[in-house]
């Protein structure tokens, strides 16, 4: 089932949790055991519920019990003793009431309360700002997201399908979906690209497969088994609304998760470099500086003269953007994954060594894709949120520092 939320620049508003239904349910179960007799009531919190939530729930339970005619007493040996424990299991909060009536065995009643996902806040303010905006979120794996028309249409690439959504009043409505036909199983660590096209809606690149949408009418995807080079880097020729051109392409290994090392840079000539996971390009006068995340884990910097293996501690995903900030070209690079989280930072390359020009933007899970968008001045990063389990696509855009 596809669960999707289009956020496109909207902030996520935190909301208070309504505990009243489970409070009432548990109170009802307790009263079924004790009747309206006076009870001695105590609580213990064995769960990850915060103190404030625990107090809110305690008050709610007391209120529900009072509304059902229960009175509370202390130190009355004749009264039923009720201990309510806030506990939890792998999926839910579990509230357990142990009811001890004089001369009887302890009776146990309980309710299960689904645990709401917590929401983390973003941070950061730095010279060159790397801004992170949630574009799309869904339970199904996302390989790439392309904004076809700003705030109007978006395409989502999943392992087996492409979905096109139209945004109406801030809400997404499915406009079309098309299967991606492939005769062999996908490789592990599946990667893919979806790119808006000039004379038709979009192109899709997957290992060993290339798809093109129909030029008009209903959304139809024509896929064929061929190894077209994937577009890597784009650059727009001017301001907003102007067209962009592909600055670099590379061939992807059909049964693996990396590029073969054969590049087709501007000019169309072939360039042989080590096998790599991702690449960034910085144009120089009459030449270009390439940065590769190679399959052996190292970052290579290649110019017209040499291939230099650096000791940069970057992740496997990098790309480059052409912007109006700083030196005009920035490299975005992921970090080595630590504690399960990830981050992206912007760099410039004034000489040959990259220099960080933004603070790191954090992601709660490892980034599985980082692709430059077709307009060239922003990128899409995909990460799986470990709290919700959803895949999330973010737009990363460089904003000039104040």
């Amino acid at each position: 089932m596809l669960i999707s939320v289009l956020v496109l620049g909207l902030a996520i508003a935190a909301h208070a949790v309504d505990w009243s239904a489970p409070e009432h349910e548990l109170a009802h179960k307790i009263v079924a055991l004790t009747g309206n007799a006076a009870i001695s009531l105590s609580f213990e919190n064995r769960s990850s519920l915060g103190r404030r939530d625990a107090e809110i729930i305690q008050n709610g339970l007391r209120g529900s019990l009072v509304a059902m005619g229960v009175q509370f007493v202390q130190n009355d040996p004749a009264a039923a003793k009720v201990v309510i424990s806030f506990s939890e299991n792998v999926t839910s909060y579990v509230w357990v009431a142990q009811v001890q009536k004089t001369g009887s065995d302890t009776a146990v009643v309980m309710v299960q309360v689904p645990r709401a996902a917590s929401i983390r806040s973003a941070r950061e303010s730095v010279p060159i700002n790397l801004r992170k905006v949630l574009l799309w979120s869904q339970a199904e794996q996302i390989l790439d997201v392309a904004v076809l028309e700003e705030n109007v249409r978006v395409a989502v690439l999943s392992p087996e399908k492409v979905f096109v959504y139209r945004i109406r009043g801030g809400n997404p409505a499915l406009e079309g979906a098309a299967e991606i036909s492939h005769s062999t199983p996908w490789p592990r660590d599946l990667r893919g690209r979806i790119v808006p096209a000039g004379d038709h809606m979009l192109d899709v690149y997957l290992p060993g497969i290339a798809c093109h949408s129909s030029a008009g009418g209903a959304f139809i995807l024509n896929c064929r088994e061929e190894n077209d080079p994937w577009p890597l880097i784009f650059a727009s020729s001017g301001g907003a609304g102007t067209s962009s051109q592909v600055m670099a392409q590379a061939f992807f290994e059909a049964s693996r998760n990396f590029f073969t090392g054969v590049e087709t840079p501007p000019g169309g000539w072939l360039k042989i470099v080590p096998q790599f996971y991702s690449a960034a390009l910085i144009p120089r006068d009459g030449d270009a500086l390439w940065l590769f995340a190679s399959v052996n884990g190292s970052i290579h910097i290649v110019d017209g003269a040499a291939d230099r293996v650096t000791n940069l501690k970057w992740g496997s995903d990098l790309t480059s953007l052409r912007t109006s900030c700083g030196a005009g070209w920035q490299v975005l690079a992921t970090s080595p994954v630590e504690d399960g989280s990830d981050s992206v930072r912007a760099y410039e390359v004034p000489e040959r060594d990259p220099v960080a020009v933004s603070a790191a933007v954090d992601f709660s899970g490892p980034i599985s894709a980082l692709w430059a968008e077709a307009k060239g001045d922003s990128a899409v990063a995909i990460a799986r949120n470990p709290e919700t389990g959803n895949y999330e696509a973010f737009r990363l855009a460089v904003a000039c520092g104040q």
């Binding site: 506990s87 693996r256 096998q275």
Partner: protein
């Protein structure tokens, strides 16, 4: 300080993160993963009831075979070899995934699936249709789907004594009880694994496994619970599941009288589980009064795991005769021997007569029971082992509690501890993880030393 269940989960994940940290590259293809394990499997058939259940067996099964459905990380059922399913009345129809091949090159068909399920569950009524199988019986959809996630219900093609699966690795060489070599299945429907092959050595003690790891002869080993703290302090890449193995005293038969039942309760009250955990197990696991660990049920604390010698003595004092119980244990396991001796001492303090024995037919024994990832599956399996009839096999949390209470009231079992399954890997093994149910996921594991 209290350690909440959810915090435990977080702590467990952090421990795991220590293993998978420093992931500075995407996965690499290639290489041979070398594994050692304690279990010495005499058969690779997941439905062979002569092979004792163990995490090692489940790990091997998951490499070669697939089930129709599985549990995801949030304990919800997700499709595997079955793409979808519908329940109607007393029937569950499962639609079989297309374009899946067994390792022998033949296609996965509804007939093969039905034959596999019938073999594992002779009492089930399973019918094959062109693209689906229908299972009929007196069970709910949830109950049946949970059953289908079990390792024993993995889909197997059996042909002249050979087994073939659809999992990420196929069998290259199999020497019963000692050695297994697996190779990556290039056309696995879930995608070719990153590893080229896996070499498994079986029947290795914890000590031998650690020696092999230290000598660089192996990449992944099992770790005994009392070693976890020390290994963590050494900074090795260790990962543990949630507490998933139930260590319990199991009686050979039901109590024949209320007096005998009371004496068993006295024994349960006499065991100082916390001291056992703190001293013998070096703090690993949790003292248990319940069958299901708290992270799985949420209510486990209701069953007391505390020691109450005065009440134990009171119960013992009410008995006219005191039996001389013989407590069996795995004589090849040093930890089991220490456990047995400690329990005998505790029982003696309560005035009970308990002697450790290596006899093959003791009155009770220390059992290590690997639970399933699902609460109802765990209880159902245990109830079957204990011969305790359950009125329900799936239902609400309160019904789960009632089922657990029924098993405990039978007097056949006294829970002692819940232990995690722990593993250590060499630093070069990346992207492996331990599932909450105690098995290792190697689906996306890769070796740093591999060459693409």
């Amino acid at each position: 300080m209290k350690l909440f269940a959810w915090q435990w989960l977080a702590a467990s994940s952090l421990l795991l993160a220590a293993v998978v940290a420093s992931g500075e590259t995407r996965p690499r293809y290639g290489g041979t993963l070398r594994i050692e394990m304690r279990a010495a499997l005499s058969s690779l058939d997941p439905a062979d009831r002569n092979v004792p259940d163990s995490f090692g067996r489940r790990n091997v099964t998951a490499l070669i075979f697939d089930t129709l459905v599985t549990f995801d990380d949030t304990a919800h059922i997700k499709p595997a070899l079955a793409e979808s399913w519908q329940a109607a009345g007393q029937e569950l129809r499962l639609h079989i995934r297309h374009d899946v091949k067994f390792h022998d090159g033949t296609s996965l068909t509804a007939e093969t699936v039905a034959a596999s399920l019938r073999f594992a569950n002779p009492s089930w009524k399973v019918m094959a249709e062109p693209d689906s199988v229908t299972i009929q019986g007196d069970f709910s959809e949830e109950e049946l789907l949970a059953q289908l996630t079990l390792s024993r219900n993995a889909i197997v093609k059996r042909d002249a004594g050979k087994v073939s699966g659809t999992g990420p690795f196929h069998i290259v060489d199999w020497q019963s009880g000692s050695r297994l070599t697996l190779a990556a299945e290039d056309n696995c429907w879930r995608g070719r694994p990153f590893l080229d092959s896996i070499a498994v050595e079986m029947g290795k003690s914890y000590h031998d496994q650690m020696t092999s790891l230290q000598l660089g002869r192996v990449d992944l080993i099992e770790v005994s619970p009392e070693q976890v703290r020390r290994i963590s302090q050494e900074g090795r890449g260790i990962a543990s599941s949630m507490p998933i193995e139930l260590v319990a005293l199991v009686f050979a038969r039901e109590a024949l009288s209320p007096e005998e039942q009371a004496l068993r309760s006295a024994l349960a009250l006499s065991v100082d589980r916390t001291a056992i955990r703190d001293v013998l197990l070096q703090g690993a696991g949790e003292a248990a009064g319940s069958i299901l660990p708290i992270w799985m049920s949420g209510y486990g604390f209701v069953f007391s795991s505390g020691v109450d010698l005065s009440k134990a003595r009171q119960l013992r004092g009410q008995a006219a005769t005191i039996p001389n119980w013989r407590l069996g244990y795995d004589t090849g396991d040093p930890l089991d021997r220490l456990l047995a001796e400690r329990i005998a001492l505790n029982a003696h303090d309560a005035g009970l007569a308990l002697q450790t024995t290596s006899s093959p037919s003791p009155d009770l024994w220390i059992a290590h029971l690997p639970l399933e990832g699902d609460a109802w599956n765990s209880l159902g399996k245990l109830a079957d082992q204990m011969g305790v009839p359950l009125t329900k096999r799936h239902g609400s949390l309160e019904e789960l509690y009632a089922a657990e209470q029924a098993i405990l009231k039978s007097g056949r079992i006294i829970p002692l501890l819940h232990l995690p399954a722990s593993y250590v890997a060499s630093p070069g093994l990346r992207n492996w993880r331990v599932r909450s149910e105690g098995t290792v996921s190697l689906d996306d594991a890769w070796l740093e030393s591999a060459r693409q």
